[in-house]
């Protein structure tokens, strides 16, 4: 089974409007609520693709039971640790006519030390039957990158491949002295990574190579929800897919990662996995939820993906 770790999950609220009038009364024409957070999004997508997946992390408060129940309905097994604090709520304002999405993200509650120790125990138990660990998303207050590194080291001891789907700052700290299968830095709101300007032509390719040089088996970088670069020590691939208007990009990058993992575990081929990930990403963009419409649709859409070996 695949285990996804989300230390700072969120209950995502999507508000759909034709257009927003700042400072005025705005009425939504529809709303949706769903479990969110990067690891949770990956878990949902993996379940839709037919993988046996366990989602773990911290939950707490009144929304937690509905949060878990929604995940289980998708086929995800849950193993969250409840704390005595409320989980965060994120708001996505989606203006369909403008093809625009605005995100409001809460910081998240503070996790007490005792919960960290209890979580480590849950994590170690899950390692006994995990074939891959994915750790995704931001960290709540009270949880430091050193804790994530400790989780990676526990997985390394058992030789279980680890996928990191997190912000650059946490990634940099976690890469030292650990062994990583896939790194997928969260570049939202970033212009630089590893001190390099990712807006410059060819720089993403260079950074991807650099990340594999730092010990990651595979590096995934995206400049856009539907444009990705993947690299191993031996090869670099780039790919994109024509998306059309997609105002709701919630979970698209995470579902790309889920699709990539799912396919790579079977095919062991970067180009094929890149194509598959793009199909899953587009199927997610066409769904109002943060996971693909279906495995069948994702597999049909991947035929539209254009991928090429660039190094």
């Amino acid at each position: 089974m695949i285990v996804t770790v989300t230390l700072n999950p969120a209950y995502d609220h999507l508000l759909f409007l034709h257009g927003i009038d700042v400072g005025q009364l705005n009425r939504t024409h529809s709303t949706l609520q769903m479990p969110g957070g990067k690891g949770v999004n990956v878990a949902s997508s993996l379940a839709i693709l037919g993988e046996e997946v366990v989602a773990t992390g911290f939950l707490g408060g009144q929304g937690s039971r509905i949060f878990e129940e929604s995940l289980r309905k998708l086929g995800v097994t849950t193993n969250f640790l409840y704390t005595n604090k409320e989980i965060r709520t994120d708001f996505y304002v989606i203006e369909e006519e403008q093809n625009r999405q605005t995100l409001f993200v809460e910081e998240g509650a503070t996790i007490e030390l005792r919960y960290l120790n209890n979580f480590k125990s849950i994590f170690e138990r899950l390692l006994s039957s995990a074939r891959i660990i994915e750790i995704g998303g931001s960290l709540p207050q009270g949880v430091h990158p050193a804790f994530v590194k400790e989780l990676i080291q526990l997985a390394n001891k058992k030789k279980i491949p680890v996928v990191l789907n997190i912000q650059e700052q946490i990634l940099k700290e976690c890469m030292e002295g650990t062994s990583l299968f896939i790194v997928n830095p969260d570049l939202r709101g970033c212009e630089t990574i590893l001190g390099k300007n990712i807006c410059e032509a060819g720089m993403i390719r260079q950074v991807a190579r650099e990340l594999t040089g730092k010990g990651a088996e595979i590096a995934i970088l995206n400049s856009h929800s539907f444009e990705y670069t993947v690299a191993s020590k031996d090869e670099v691939w780039e790919g994109e897919i024509e998306s059309g208007p997609t105002p709701n990009k919630l979970g698209v990058r995470d579902s790309f990662l889920a699709g990539f993992i799912h396919n790579y575990l079977i095919m062991r081929n970067l180009g094929e996995a890149l194509k598959y990930g793009l199909g899953v990403a587009l199927s997610t963009a066409r769904n109002k939820m943060n996971y693909p419409n279906s495995k069948k649709e994702a597999e049909e859409l991947r035929l539209m993906a254009k991928v090429r070996k660039v190094g």
């Binding site: 707490g60 097994t77 849950t78 193993n79 409840y82 005595n84 125990s121 170690e124 006994s128 039957s129």
Partner: protein, 151 residues
């Protein structure tokens, strides 16, 4: 006929034998359940710990004369206070070694009979001894009634 795998709750919430009882009380309270599986570090089920086991540990004299099922966590703070007084008592001293694991292939009717016969509200579901979920009486009765109406 539906099987356990069709009706189980795919949740792995559990504790180990070294978990302090006060942590168990918190988990049961926050999750609103009456008992959870006890597992080892391989997630293999080794027992069950319930409200009843906790009450027995806190009020052993009361249990002798009353039905512990009627004692509930309406005043959690007093229970936690008593637990604190007991120090760091562990699950291993109070868990039930008599538990009723079922497999995913068992029929819903069979698990219903097992739960009714033994007055169980939740039972662990195992695959090769490893915990993969729980069956809850509430969801089971709902499914059985649904199937009954279909037939």
């Amino acid at each position: 006929m539906k099987k356990v795998k069709d009706i189980m709750t795919r949740d792995l919430t559990s504790v180990t034998e070294d978990t302090p009882l006060k942590d168990v009380a918190e988990i049961l309270s926050l999750r609103g359940v009456n008992g959870i599986p006890v597992v080892n570090m391989n997630n293999e089920v080794t027992g069950w710990i319930s409200e009843r086991d906790l009450i027995t540990s806190i009020f052993p004299e009361k249990v002798k004369i009353e039905n512990p099922d009627v004692v509930s966590f309406t005043n959690l703070s007093s229970v936690v206070k008593k637990l604190t007084q007991m120090g760091e008592a562990m699950v291993k001293d109070y868990l039930s070694k008599k538990y009723f694991p079922v497999t995913e292939e068992l029929s819903a009717a069979d698990v219903a009979e097992l739960m009714l016969h033994n007055n169980l509200k939740r039972v662990p579901v195992v695959r090769n001894k490893r915990l993969v979920g729980v069956v809850e009486r509430a969801s089971l009765s709902h499914i059985l009634l649904e199937e009954g109406s279909l037939e």
